[in-house]
């Protein structure tokens, strides 16, 4: 699968989906005007990845802020990651949050709860 890499902007996160280098990460801020437009290609990429994934996928989220419209899109990403888990591939999700940032911390807990995947919550 081809690499998908997006640089961070003022209102969109950095996205690295790199199976060859085993690096999967979404970081920064997410408040795009049209989250569907931004996230659709990412979700499509993940759908394709799930058809032929690496044996092990370590996926990191390191978001400082995301608006509620983005949170729905991130939920869709988690559903794709859950597909990986369900198909006996090794999946490790790490959800980073800044020390004291209860908002991002609680968001990670929420995704764990509503999606039903194991998420490691890591303070930095």
């Amino acid at each position: 699968m081809e690499l998908l890499k997006l640089e961070a902007t003022e209102d969109t996160p950095q996205v690295i989906l790199d199976p060859a280098n085993k690096k999967f990460q979404i970081s920064g801020r997410s408040l795009p005007e049209d989250p569907t437009e931004f996230y659709d290609p990412i979700i499509k990429w993940l759908d394709d990845y799930c058809l032929n994934p690496n044996p092990k996928t370590n996926f990191d989220f390191k978001l400082e802020y995301f608006n509620t419209a983005s949170s729905k899109q991130i939920y869709k990403i988690f559903l794709r990651l859950k597909n990986l888990m369900d198909n006996n591939h090794e999946l490790n999700i790490c959800w980073y949050y800044q020390d004291g940032d209860t908002s991002i911390q609680q968001a990670g807990e929420r995704y764990m709860r509503v999606v039903g995947v194991q998420i490691k919550l890591a303070k930095y």
Partner: protein
């Protein structure tokens, strides 16, 4: 402005660029001594959500006018609260559902709100560009910890002026 407890006032066009500029200004203005970074983040979240709600959902007097206008104020109600206020025009036929939605949210405690958020985030219905209005208001209520205050002032047969006020406790 400081003596009126107003930290930031914006009136004019609402675009994504304006949202980002206002956020940038707000980041500078909201840094009272002793404000924890968790509080600043909470206020920042509320500001972003309120600003983007105007962009997404406001209407204009002339439906052919694609430029959205509105009003945005960050104030203080010392010593306890920041107050984030938005104002924009809204079609009269949207008032009923919006009022019901806010009243419903205001009737819930924090547990109810979090349950409601869980249900809404997994709900497939509102994944369009304009979708997620309910999720945005629930999020505001959770971050605020207080009732959302709103008002509708009639302008003409088609539109009214809608104002929303979100309080964020400094504690």
């Amino acid at each position: 402005m400081r003596s009126n407890n107003l930290l930031l006032v914006y009136e004019g066009e609402f675009t994504q660029e304006v949202v980002l500029n206002v956020l940038s200004m707000a980041e500078g203005n909201i840094s009272g001594d002793g404000d924890t970074s968790s509080l600043k983040k909470g206020v920042f979240n509320v500001i972003t959500e309120v600003l983007q709600n105007v962009c997404k959902h406001a209407d204009e007097l002339n439906p052919d006018n694609k430029v959205i206008s509105g009003l945005f104020v960050i104030g203080e109600d010392p010593p306890d609260n920041y107050i984030v206020t938005s104002g924009n025009l809204i079609l009269n036929n949207k008032i009923g559902p919006l009022r019901s939605r806010i009243d419903e949210i205001n009737s819930m405690d924090i547990i109810g709100l979090n349950n409601f958020y869980d249900i809404e985030i997994t709900n497939d219905e509102n994944v369009s560009y304009k979708g997620g209005a309910r999720l945005g208001l629930i999020d505001l209520a959770i971050k605020s910890g207080q009732k959302l205050e709103y008002n509708f002032i009639p302008v003409n047969k088609k539109v009214s002026f809608y104002s929303l006020q979100v309080r964020v406790s400094k504690k």
